[in-house]
Symmetry: C4
Subunit: 354 residues, 4 copies
């Protein structure tokens, strides 16, 4: 199947069907504490953060989703306009299509016509093995969109369940370590290790310490096994897929696993659906958060809908900060919270100090 | 919207709709122990307590709810007559309306035509900032109803979700500390820090040590987010509110949090709906308990209904005392109980010794 | 209401309605361990025990239920015939009716026409206070039925919820201690402290150490609040009763509480409904078990039904013994079992070593 | 009832009815950890193991199920062909029928016409007592099918609930110890202790240390009480059976119990229904796994269906290995996993180190 048709199908499915995990993000195991006196002025609340050299009005970025086919421009444009208006950040979908076919570059580059805010490029880790990608590809990806940072996505589940998948991940993190350290000599752009909805473990995070940031993209939101389940006709294949619908590390667990073995920037993501979810990720120690699916659905309806959605998240985040008595993001990252079961026991089992 | 119309709307909604939390008070995690021999005579049971200088026949007060509009007299009168008949205590709703408009004073003062029992005044903490209230306002509030004590309510959730809300709580507890200590030089009336259904944390309680009592008013009963949810027409605002429907510290948790960092009088409240609930609060260490919503509903039907309801609570309290073998409230406060999950783990997480 | 009519009403309700607790006995928290090799011969299994001087073919007695009105003879006769046939034990209902009215003695004495097996008399603890009962009453109760032992039932819940209830339990256990020790000088019959479906706590058991046995009769089976709930017409009274429908110490908890502070004979009872339940009580350390409600229902249909029911329990008990590899009751009392949540935490909370 | 008709009835019931436990295997308490980088090449994954002298392409054997009546050949043939094609192993059903009646030997021996792979013989432990079996019977069973190993099944539950059951298990493991050690002098074939769906405990495993392997066959899959429940007409017998429908040690628990007191080969089995289940057993330390019911159902439809089913399991096992980053079975046996409640507490209760 042609790559652009598959991408269209993904977007169609994500927009119309239930493509989310039945199992939760485990963020419901994190309980923020009502501060009965609040002690702050709502109008003083400041949600600003600095990330990858850019100042954002709130610690929210749109996760990388699309590009590489006719139609993607519209989506990317809508996200870019909203992100510019609210001064947030955004990622782009895998740039492989444009690496392969230069004519598709504008489906990504379009965002720079609309925003000067934080824009993050996106390449697949597995392609550095399969397609033998090198420093030049990284250069092209960054320059194509004047990227502030580059996300390398690791997606073994997605690859193994797709008929067209690339499944050779042998020594992938060693290989990337070499390429990235080589590239850094040439240009100091931040690199982000990113999942696509299955999360990283603490062992992964240790292995990926050479990355400047980890975007956990844990499970509980968009489920690639579910998306694929809709596409598969073959009964036996569907039976197999069914067994993996709940595979992955829930977002709250993934954040705390990564935090226990990795000292740099952590982005909380995967299934975030409200400003309270966002606040919880920050309270767990993340520097920023990211959202994909709900933004995609909004972007298909127009840029105003994206503004509306992200404004709602910011408003909820601010209300939460008011109710826990945190005036800014640094304070929010230090508030007490309750860690409930089953997450608490899971972390004990995993040997993660919390 | 005019304040008196909003108050009427609140009362209407509280009376006809489900305005209570879906999440519980966590009082179901407290299990009293059947005493198989009882060893006491039911007819000897004494439920008397002394509170703020008045002797009550049972440790139950009606939480402050109303006043400040035509129609409130009737409700307050019904509560006052019942409280007098049973020799219990009662609070009044926020007296701000009468502070602003002297003509409305009789909607509060009416209670003194019917009861000489314990009556508690009520002012909003946030107004000491917003309206620059001073010692004189306190004086007026107390004298208006010959108050035995004055409750200062902290209601950040309520303010932030109301379109008309006051949201500057900056340094609110320091400010109140000054005002109260100043006022105490002049007249030694007890001050009570009170929530309106979201509870205080142990950190709050430490901050509020200058109050003579804390009325926890934890979550599990009347939910202001739910009340507001009925009032809001705007779809986006409703979406935001939805996320806060379960916000707050459950009553049982709030009592034990406060107890762990505060040594004075604790009033157990928020979602108490039976004499067993009341007995549990006392077993947890409270000196008294308070009930709002069910009393409001009864008061709208007539004073006899209030007597009936409160008598039922007292009867249930006495049966519970008989079954745990406690002859008086002091004994009840020392009986053993079982602390069950999830409350037990929550308190461990919160570092509260129990 | 006349006592005999009330008793009839109780029997009618117990026979036709759901009168059992919604909350369980917590016996589901006890899990016996399958012995994969069994290692015993089913035909060698011996379920005999000795209790109060009589040898029983299995550790099962029928709990005391009835007597004192015309019609009770039939029920008691059916139980007695079955108990004789299977060589088990039985208790009789409260003998107060016959103490008050000698003409009713035959409604109890009838059992001795049918069985020479273990028969246990029954008096209410509260009547020793209310009616000033003395050694003579004990004598009459024992001689009336040639009792092998005498159960004294403690039933504060039952008394407090009945309109006709006696509610003076003041110093009841001290008073009984004197009477029983006095009586023992005269005749050495075993005395049993018995609940009626709400269980004893470890504190109770310590207080009752002068009894020769404790029959826990914990909650999870027949609920007297539920029985009474059917009888009460008054709406307010029903509301009160509702709050006590789950009152009581579940049977498994009560057994382990009592065991932790009492060294003599423990009878496991309250809500036992199968031979596995019976085996669990024995594994917890009981010397015998007792069943009421299901036997009553069988006895109303004829003595064969009682034999059938009790035979089924014995058969299930034997199968369980075969599957855990216990050849006799002594071995069964020493087999390993798993103590599961929430019972495990409850016992930790209660300071009971297990 | 004739033995062959009963066997047919079993197969008919297992094929058409729900004959599985309501209670789970507890394998859902084992959570494998997503390895976000995978770091291996799917095409390098090697699932081979060596078991009882034969090399299998994957650690999966078909549990012993049938033989001994006309019609069994077809089933056994279909399994044998599939097992040969995929290079897996298989067991046969109890060979007692052919021990008793030589004419039925071909219903077992047929498998050797189709496979040279691992074939395991099967005898009932209880028959060594009841029928006084000796070394010669073992010889005949092994030679009948040129067995690579011999499973001795312990099935106390099955025997006790069947009207025709043999229930003398007295000293069964001592007796077998003598016979097996005697036999081993003569021929060194591996002996496997096997349940039939109720699992072994750690105490059992210690007792059975003279066996070369333990095939746990824990509960959660085929339930013999349920199978029997369909066959029983008598109401009282059904009532008894009902109480044992959940009897047994769940598979995950049984594996960990056995592992804690037994150092040789453990086969994980009982209720395995996917390649993830299989991977979990291996991660828990098993050397191989076994499946019965689903294979039976497939075999009744034809050998291709067996190939299809087992291929699906292998594919799922490989995907799981890819997602946890294990290149071969030895690596899979050492990956980290999360042990969740209630299994974790059960193992603590049982004194099993994990
Ligand atoms: C339609 C769609 C396309 C996506 N494409 C990419 C991609 O190209 N590269 C990538 O790293 N992640 C991609 N993702 C994954 C998201 O970045 C994100 O990790 C995932 O959707 C989980 O977040 P959510 O639960 O908020 O949707 C895509 C997600 C969606 C919904
Ligand atoms: C209609 C209504 C009006 C209230 N007004 C006030 C108020 O003016 N001041 C205040 O401190 N609390 C007010 N409360 C809050 C109650 O005092 C109490 O804290 C809350 O309702 C929780 O208790 P409950 O669950 O028993 O209703 C009001 C409650 C209700 C239901
Ligand atoms: C109809 C009925 C009458 C009872 N009467 C007495 C009684 O007179 N004295 C007594 O000690 N217990 C009495 N009991 C209580 C039983 O002995 C037993 O404690 C209780 O029913 C719990 O056991 P079960 O769950 O097996 O029914 C009675 C129970 C029933 C059902
Ligand atoms: C129809 C059928 C017949 C069986 N016959 C035997 C047998 O003869 N000998 C034996 O050891 N186990 C026998 N078993 C038990 C299986 O080997 C296995 O232990 C049990 O079915 C649990 O595994 P499952 O949940 O995968 O079905 C039989 C199982 C089935 C379904």
């Amino acid at each position: 199947m042609e790559i652009s048709i598959r991408k269209l199908e993904h977007i169609f499915l994500c927009s119309h069907c239930n493509v989310e995990y039945d199992r939760s993000t485990l963020l419901e195991c994190i309980e923020l504490i009502h501060k009965g006196t609040s002690n702050i002025n709502f109008d003083d609340i400041n949600t600003e953060v600095k990330l990858f050299g850019k100042r954002l009005s709130a610690p929210i970025i749109v996760s990388g989703m699309t590009g590489g086919f006719r139609g993607a421009e519209e989506i990317n444009k809508n996200i870019a306009k909203a992100v510019e208006e609210l001064n947030l950040g955004m990622g782009l979908g895998s740039q492989r299509a444009a690496i392969v076919n230069k004519e598709l570059e504008d489906t990504y580059r379009v965002v720079r016509d609309y925003t000067e805010s934080l824009v993050i490029g996106n390449l697949g880790a597995v392609n550095f093995i399969k397609d033998g990608w090198d420093l030049e590809v990284i250069d092209r990806a960054i320059e194509m969109i004047d990227a502030d940072a580059l996300a390398i996505h690791f997606n073994p589940l997605q690859e193994i369940i797709q008929p067209e998948g690339d499944v050779n991940f042998k020594n992938i993190s060693e290989k990337l370590k070499d390429i990235i350290s080589e590239y850094k000599k040439h240009r100091d752009v931040p690199f982000i290790a990113k999942q696509v909805g299955e999360g990283f473990s603490k062992e992964d995070a240790k292995e990926l310490e050479y990355f400047d940031a980890i975007d956990v993209q844990g499970s509980g939101g968009t489920s690639w096994a579910k998306v694929e389940y809709y596409r598969v006709k073959d009964k036996e294949k569907r039976e197999i897929l069914k067994n993996f619908l709940n595979w992955g590390i829930p977002t709250a667990q993934s954040i705390l696993e990564v935090k226990s073995s990795y000292n740099k920037i952590i982005i909380g993501s995967g299934g975030l659906r409200s400003g309270i979810d966002i606040a919880k990720c920050l309270a767990l120690g993340c520097s920023c958060t990211a959202v994909a699916l709900p933004v995609l659905r909004a972007a298909l309806k127009g840029y105003e809908k994206v503004v509306e959605l992200l404004s709602k998240y910011i408003e909820e985040l601010k209300i939460t900060m008011f109710l826990v008595g945190a005036e800014n993001i640094e304070e929010l990252r230090r508030i007490p919270y309750i860690l409930k079961e089953p997450l608490k026991s899971i972390l004990v089992e995993r040997g993660c100090k919390v």
